[in-house]
Symmetry: C3
Subunit: 257 residues, 3 copies
């Protein structure tokens, strides 16, 4: 597989992403590189893990997914390569890879110990360039994951708070706020009927509606978004700005299905 | 043609653009994908249409141009494929495609009704992933537009305000503000001579000048920009910030050619 | 070499970068285009030159590097193509290319005078589209640099302030602030020992530490970053915000090695 994806918190104002691509292109000229996003909030491992979980399934099986949200860069935290049913994940062992690699999907976890692959000298601040890009290039060039280091039994896993169900009430929360200000919750669309009561702060909605445009422009609406999750939006506006709500905001669904 | 371009209002902080690329790469691995921009202001169909109009002519004839600025996603607004002399446009039928597809350029308008191509289940919020990316992949893979749905006679067309000419005076307006704060108007450069009087708010300029650098740093200057349109700029600065001006601001040209 | 990189101050909110890619794709369909960054601060030639210096070495030798931070666009400043040991640089003659092209690396400097290659009509505001993209395409298609214009002996070179050494004290300054708010200085890591004293404003640090994570979250730390330069950071935070510091801020190293 020639396809490499990149997911980082590096932003695009610096050359860091470009430098990673230079390393990959130097070592695996046949690679095709696709950006998932570089807009993960700095050091927000949970956001990066959610992004990866919701993006990986849309890429060809076997693609190499490099993810770098890495506050522990330069420490003893392990660099990993994780083979799953959907693709090969490469990144730090801090939970970032764990939501895209469900326990039953994981085929092999490799601690990347073959330092001969890494750039030398290796800096203490940029394993994306020095470790993960070279490993991605090696994978594209045909090196099997098991040749990259020692197989290990486990990796760090994020403990996401799951929505709490009490009878017909579900207590969830906002887990991601997108570019439009849509508030994406951890409540799966399948958990509720078409006319559930939805509370966020002082706001009461009924739904989910079939689309943002089910309400007039400027009004709040609840939908099941593209990640299959309950989402609070403002049609043609920002629910985050309107409600002053961000990650962690409590969302309650009454009359759940 | 293997080339697919993407123009959206999705921004780059989320994985949405990456997910569209994943869908295209999964179904048409031979596609080459180029971003036009994902920085169209949210839901600003007119800005997206202007961007597309000024970008499409610089791409190879026959390229597939996917555009998604789509406040009506999930409603009955039609998804379209529009064949023109310059390329194949794919996006919602809300006027977004209309400035890049002049009435005399259009060869065929197809209402994308072949749902077998779409991702299933199809969400109510992300036709970029579920409809337009799969259609782009099908086009790259050689499916002719006419096989994608039913030919229709018309599409939504934007009614842009044209500059108003009264004798030797032209009343136009700012239609686009770029990253540098340059104020791009709807007045074509060919409508004025080299020493026209230009008024915006309380400001009086003469021009257009041959380049931004025709004035000292920090000063206002009028030029004909790369879109062939009159543009008000500050050399090495932001005219938008300096004048407090944005889209819709009135611009008057006296002594027009 | 099919690889073209792009480094500009165009940002990503407009279609300008996409348009350059369209021109390259039209004239050299075999080109692979990689963004270094388009987030150079507007008109900041020094920042662009630093970015290019630190990115070019990570790309394959012979790649074509197009850089456009060009406040003099439309004037008599020369468009250049510079062959170096590492690659071929294309951009305006304003110092932008000079840090990536050390005096001993330069093989040939060509003033791009062959206007037949340029887009016509050529605008006065967008040589990225009209001059530099076509030239990059010509290089990818195999045109040798010497065929693009007249060889010239010199180009503009930036006179960067070097750190000042007085005995065991080094006076440097912040030369680049990255997306994370890390303050990158002009003091090379090799100039100091592992326990130097570092002063910035009222702050005193010892270091450099091996990684950001050598201190508790939220604390200031000095490291040698991925550019081999002394860098002041806040673990999981922004040193720029914490210290109110930006480019030009004085940094003093005592007890230098």
């Amino acid at each position: 597989m020639r396809l490499v994806t990149l997911t980082t918190d590096f932003g695009l104002s610096d050359p860091f992403v470009g430098i990673m691509k230079g390393v990959i292109a130097s070592r695996a000229p046949e690679a095709t590189i696709v950006d998932v996003t570089h807009g993960v909030p700095p050091q927000d491992v949970v956001a990066g893990a959610l992004v990866l979980r919701h993006a990986v399934p849309y890429f060809p099986a076997g693609a190499v997914h490099v993810a770098v949200v890495d506050p522990g860069v330069g420490t003893a935290r392990r660099p990993l390569c994780v083979e799953t049913d959907h693709g090969v994940l490469v990144g730090p062992d801090n939970g970032l890879l764990s939501l895209a690699a469900g326990p039953t999907d994981v085929r092999r976890i490799v601690h990347l110990t073959d330092e001969r692959l890494f750039l030398s000298p290796r800096s203490g601040t940029f394993d994306g360039r020095d470790v993960f890009a070279p490993v991605a290039a090696a994978l594209v060039a045909g090196t099997p994951p098991r040749a990259l280091g020692a197989e290990v039994p486990e990796m760090e896993r994020l403990a996401l708070r799951e929505p709490l169900r009490r009878g017909r009430t579900i207590e969830g929360e906002v887990v991601y706020v997108d570019h439009f200000g849509n508030l994406i919750t951890n409540v799966a669309g399948g958990m509720m009927g078409r006319d559930a009561g939805i509370r966020i702060g002082e706001t009461r909605l009924r739904g989910p509606a079939p689309s943002y445009a089910a309400v007039p422009p400027g009004e709040l609406v609840a939908v099941v978004g593209s990640w299959g999750l309950l989402e609070i939006a403002v049609r043609n506006g920002s629910a985050s700005a309107r409600l002053g709500a961000s990650k962690g905001e409590r969302v309650v669904v009454d009359d759940a299905a």
